[in-house]
Subunit: 364 residues, 2 copies
């Protein structure tokens, strides 16, 4: 039987909190973190909330050599009445376990993990910012820590959750970006790790991003690794297009990450009765639709931005300006609704919200 | 100007050395390690040999999330007269920088890195075992350490070298293994990170290896990620076949690692006048050659095993026994020659050997 108590060791000092208008994604961290160990045959044990602190890890630990790791990203939002709530956290832990399976990492108890992040966020609840568009980013991750250089699944792991207060993604309203279609580098391929949220996929993406940044593009649009013809993702987001009144997004094929926001967008569109389908989409089809005046909107979806409208897509030197470079109607509506649900301003017909149950007594 | 002095802090205690007949690859580490830091704009600095110790790294460091890392593997050998020598170490640092370029990691000074490992091996020279077939494994690696959750190249790194005494790969003579051709999972694809020695490639390989181990296979043979028709690597080694008198190995195509042993095998075969070519090899061709009695030998090449003969290849349920399941003549000759050069028993016409210049005063 695994021990399911969470030991609590509070920090003796408290860090100064950054101003909510100076928050930069992923730079500042709260006073505490959650840590749990795995070893063979003990299983997951020693769940603790401890002061945020450096990890002491042997230089031969597998994470430093063979990249066996998985992670998740979600947010806690402060509502107008001071409550703190999460958006579909169960989906994140469900996906964490799917990622872990691909990476030969033992599964965690999803319910217990949810309890752990609720408790951690409660301990650091003063860190959940309340300015418009701000939130507390939650980063659960698992790393392989066995001190062994053999190429084999590790027998020791750490499951850690850290928290970072983040500013509004859009300081001056939702803003379309220019995207370059990537023809040289590939993010993932069928049979690879593309549908797992693991470090290697992100490491593989850095070079392409660096190259297109120099040319003034915000992100790359990734094509499939087999034929380099079909759309997969945009940057580290899923991607949607509105073509002749229908919203389409690439079908999950093994090399595409099953985004929680992606799923939420699809459910919302269905709820509204807007035609939406998941299928294979070629660049040729997008280009033809654009030529025919049928490529009406394009946007990325992800936890950080929620919705990131694409104002221009550049493919083999051909610029496709979409919706006059402006945010489309559906992009805006989906953005407003999802963020509205997240901050408790809009009704939540899907039961997506999970309360942290920590009514803040702190004055803002 | 980067500071190129190496600070030396010797360990106050010395660990007990494992017996040379009980050495397990990558489990025991020596008394010291080399560490060097990188930060923007300082560059690489603070080169030190320090006692082997855990790393203190912030939990938000990029290595734990986005897998930005590279590594190398080489060995130090003790000759009959007690000298310690390296095998083609320049190739490893050349490749490390190529890997780093793909992963957006700043390059290191290859000459300085060689100086550093020579000095480190000299400090721990008593750890270089002298029993038949044993050696000191050298693992240089670079990890991204900036405490930041944004997906972007890190601005802080650590270059570390650790040492591990390793036993003979073959305890009872070179030994052919059974290999399964992998049809489901893919290690790498054109446009991906396959030609870089980075953690993600190894993380991606674990699941396939785990699956075939259960069926009694030693390793998988990886096919290309595009068509899953063409041979790429075997386990974490390069692969060679002797077909009708000619030795062939897959051509470096961007998704195959440019192995130092691979290159040494090719140079040796050319030196001997044995026909060798680098080209695309399909499974269909191998199967046909086997049917025609022309698939004479097959072997993997890598730092750990040097040569690993393949006695059986299983593809889609079809077993191909190669050379009656025995080690082939060329496999054996290449193995004997490379290991002979490494241990100073055979003449080195290629200048592959680099002396550590630490004539051991230690009695064995």
């Amino acid at each position: 039987m695994e021990d399911k108590t969470i030991r609590l060791q509070l920090s003796e000092t408290k860090k100064e909190k950054p101003n909510s208008d100076q928050l930069i994604f992923g730079r500042a961290f709260t006073d505490h973190m959650f840590v749990m160990d795995y070893s063979d045959p003990l299983g997951w044990h020693n769940a603790s909330i401890v002061p945020y602190q450096p990890l002491m890890i042997d230089p031969s630990a597998m994470i430093f050599h063979y990249g066996q790791s998985v992670f998740e990203g979600l947010k806690a939002f402060r509502t107008a009445d001071g409550e703190v709530q999460l958006f579909r956290p169960q989906k994140n832990f469900e996906r964490l376990n799917l990622s872990s399976d691909r990476l030969c990492i033992p599964p965690i108890d999803e319910e217990f993990a949810l309890k752990a992040i609720k408790q951690l966020v409660t301990v650091d609840k003063e860190w959940v910012p309340d300015a418009e568009g701000t939130s507390l980013y939650i980063r659960p991750f698992i790393i392989s820590t066995e001190p062994y250089l053999g190429v084999a699944p590790s027998r020791h792991y750490k499951f850690i959750v850290i928290l970072s207060p983040v500013g509004a993604y859009y300081k001056e309203g939702i803003n379309p970006v220019k995207i370059a279609v990537e023809n040289k580098y590939v993010r993932a391929v069928k049979g690879g790790t593309g549908e797992a949220k693991t470090g290697g996929n992100y490491a593989a993406s850095l070079k392409a991003q660096e190259d297109v940044s120099k040319e003034g593009f915000a992100q790359v649009l990734w094509l499939d690794g087999v034929e380099q013809k079909y759309v997969e993702e945009v940057g580290s987001m899923n991607v949607f297009f509105k073509i002749g009144g229908e919203v389409v997004t690439p079908k999950l094929n093994g090399s595409i990450l099953a985004g929680v926001t992606r799923n939420s967008v699809i459910e919302l569109l269905k709820h509204w009765g807007i035609p939406v389908s998941e299928r294979r989409i070629s660049m040729e089809e997008l280009y033809q639709a654009h030529q025919d005046g049928l490529l009406e909107e394009a946007f990325g979806s992800g936890t950080a931005a929620v919705i990131s409208p694409i104002g221009q897509l550049t493919w083999d030197g051909k610029d496709m300006v979409i919706n006059g470079g402006n945010t489309g109607e559906i992009s805006q509506k989906v953005y407003d609704t999802i963020t509205g649900i997240q901050y408790g301003k809009v009704e939540d017909p899907f039961n997506w919200i999970v309360k942290v149950e920590a009514k803040s007594a702190v004055k803002h």
